[in-house]
Amino acid sequence: MDWNTIFVTTVKASIGLETVVYALAAIGVNIQFGYAGLLNFGQAAFLGVAAYGMAVTVATFHLPFWLGILIGLAATIVLAFLLGIPTLRLRADYLAIVTIAAAEIVRLIFRSVKFSSVFGGSDGRQNFSGDFFAMNPYSPGTYGIGPISFNERVTWVLTVGWVLIAIACGLVYLLMKSPWGRVLKAIREDEDAVRSLGKNVFSYKMQALVLGGVVGCLGGFLFALGQASVQPDLFSTEFTFYAYTIVILGGAARVFSPVVGAAIFWVLLVFVGNTLSEAVSAGLLPSLFTVNNIGAVRFMLVGLGLMLLLIFRPQGIFGDKREIALDAR
């Protein structure tokens, strides 16, 4: 067992690209689900259209990078409206089914052969991150403490990512202290009561959906840029489910919980995954476990963890039980 490698990869995972991407996606989910009580199961689609909007603009049509970002943002907002208009008047579980269906539609179109000249089929798109890395202020080399260090490209992506997370958290903090945020939380608690006070519930929900989508889509940009490629299957429904697990793990309706949740989620996932695969190659586990199927075990644990959290501690680590939107129906 190589504990040193396990330790290093685990510590790196706590601030790595996945943590950043999932934290941003989870901050978006937290706005929608934690504060407004909207069950958006299509968060992956928001990240997907943003990442593809940027990648396709730059790689397929050879337009400037910043235009790509704008188009990605616009695509996210359009998607939010398209999803929200039919479903925000309906019950929570209807929204859940529609958003999950929409996410699959988006993914199927991205990976279809029919549109592969635009979206690149199941291989996705590459060659769009040049302008982003041209802005890199870090000179070539590694940055970090001892073995826990990243090269200049990863350092740049992570810097941007954590700055965006800080901005998003600040925004959520200020918004949720404002009257706007209080209306949102009131909608989560009792829609009819808010409506009877003369607030336009539909409009508030739509704003929450758009805002959550936009915050999440920042994660989509970073995902694409950090990997220097986009593939349709990165944005599967399981992505959304992991984001929900992160929000519930940290505790819904808390500013920092998605960030802490994402870090804990990825630390656990990487730690368990590495420990298990090291244990398999060291022959410490029964022969039932092999290098091929050991990867499945950690996702089993995700499912199990999600179930146990909701059964025994629905408020997560930091949440307040009275503030959980789970009674919305």
Binding site: D93, A96, V98, A101, L108, D233, A296
Partner: protein, 428 residues
């Protein structure tokens, strides 16, 4: 929905697709399985030549449609299908793709895919327009048949989902895993233990029922008692679905695999429809089960009680119905029927760990289209969804047919959220 649904689409659309066998090769070879409408095509000559045109070898497909030509070294080869040896009424889907250039890598066997289609359905050829009017209606008839086939499977799955929703309010995202569970059980008994598939299917239906009962007795029932809210239970069902899916992946592996029986059934022609006998029998069984469950809901005491609970649990309880008992029966029957649906799905495509999840959204589409919580609405809605998916391939590329069905789901939400047979007060 991922790889296997794409494969499923290809299967139903009448393309050839190759079952990659897990056997590891010693030397380089070219191989493939020739299929038309999911049925193997035998006696077709395939020849392989080097890049310079020098012949390397040839092969004739066996009764299972398989062929293999060993090649001396890695490199590019020209693989030619002799079109004159194709059976009557079968042609290449793309006439200009009788010869393919294929790269073989060091130490690996390379699958080669020739897409076949019934004569008259090919694209890319000049001969296409000669008999278009009759072949168009033939195609519609064939697709209608396939649509019913898919719709009935969806309906079997939807029945349980809809009844569970109606009685407990739970939107169960783990319902697809009940299908996978059934298919996996049947696969275990059929392929691993060597029991005939019919018997294996019966066993897996029984086990599926037990699984459904156990889930309710020891999991969902307990959660209901604890007073877990519906949204919490919905997310718990997602956790359960993830957990079960990766348990299946752990034991079964990521590759799809067919059952041992009825794989290579030659197709028969009934009017304009050509399909394997197994499809007709499967549809008969599905229809019979749906009718029996439907009659049981209408005529038996338990069925009436189930509909009463679905209508209004509190009122049903106060009129002396044992609500928990009814819910347990619904879970048992739902589990058994979902298991059967899984076996049927495994029969028409491969068994894979994602099969249930992939069809789950179509089941949701069927259930919402018919009206959430209504048993018969689910039946009608599912068949409409199945038909729509298959018939849409007349205009939409096959790979995007699920997109159409999901769009319909969203449009139903927009214009008639209570579904075809649902009532308006169900939505809040």
């Amino acid at each position: 929905m991922r790889r296997a649904v794409i494969a499923f689409t290809a299967f139903l659309g009448g393309l050839v697709f190759l079952l990659s066998s897990p056997a590891w090769a010693d030397g380089e070879a070219l191989k493939g399985t020739l299929q038309n409408q999911g049925q193997p095509v035998n006696g077709v000559k395939i020849s392989v030549a080097g890049e310079d045109g020098k012949p390397v070898g040839d092969a004739t497909t066996g009764s299972d449609g398989k062929w293999e030509v060993p090649v001396p070294e890695a490199g590019t080869y020209k693989v030619t299908l002799d079109q004159s040896t194709l059976p009557q009424g079968v042609g290449l889907k793309f006439k200009d793709r009788a010869t393919l250039n294929v790269q073989v890598y060091e130490g690996s066997e390379r699958n080669v895919l020739f897409a076949l289609a019934p004569a008259g359905q090919q694209g890319g050829g000049a001969a296409q327009s000669s008999s278009d009017s009759s072949s168009f209606w033939d195609r519609v008839a064939q697709l209608t048949f396939e649509g019913f086939n898919l719709g009935l499977i969806i309906a079997l799955a939807a029945m349980g989902l809809s009844l569970v929703f109606g009685t407990t309010g739970l939107t169960n995202f783990a319902h697809g895993e009940l299908l996978t569970f059934g298919a996996m059980c049947a696969y275990f008994f059929n392929v691993v233990l060597g029991i005939p598939l019919v018997l294996a299917a019966v066993i897996s239906v029984v086990i599926g029922g037990v699984f459904g009962y156990t889930q309710d007795r020891f999991f969902w029932g307990v959660l209901r008692k604890r007073g877990s809210s519906l949204v919490a239970m919905m997310i718990i069902s997602i956790g359960l679905a993830l957990f079960l899916r990766y348990v299946f992946l752990f034991f079964f592996g990521g590759e799809g695999a067919p059952f041992a029986d009825y794989n290579a059934q030659p197709g028969i022609q009934v009017g304009p429809i050509s399909a394997a006998p197994k499809n007709f029998i499967a549809m008969g069984i599905e229809l019979a089960v749906l009718v029996i469950v439907g009659l049981a809901l209408l005529k038996t005491r338990v069925g009436k009680a189930a509909r009463a609970v679905a209508d209004n649990p509190a009122l049903a309880a106060s009129s002396g119905i044992n609500v928990d008992g009814v819910i347990r029966i619904i879970w048992t029957v739902g589990g058994a029927v979902a298991s059967l649906a899984g076996v049927m799905l495994g029969l028409s495509q491969n068994v894979s760990y994602q099969m249930g999840f992939q069809i789950l959204l179509l089941v949701f589409a069927g259930v919402t289209l018919g009206g959430l919580g209504t048993a018969f609405g689910a039946l009608v809605g599912s068949i409409v969804v199945g038909l729509f998916i298959q018939l849409s391939t007349v205009v939409v590329p096959t790979e995007l047919k699920t997109v159409g069905a999901l769009l319909v789901l969203i449009l139903v939400m927009l214009f008639r959220p209570q579904g075809i047979l649902g009532r308006r007060e169900r939505i809040g």
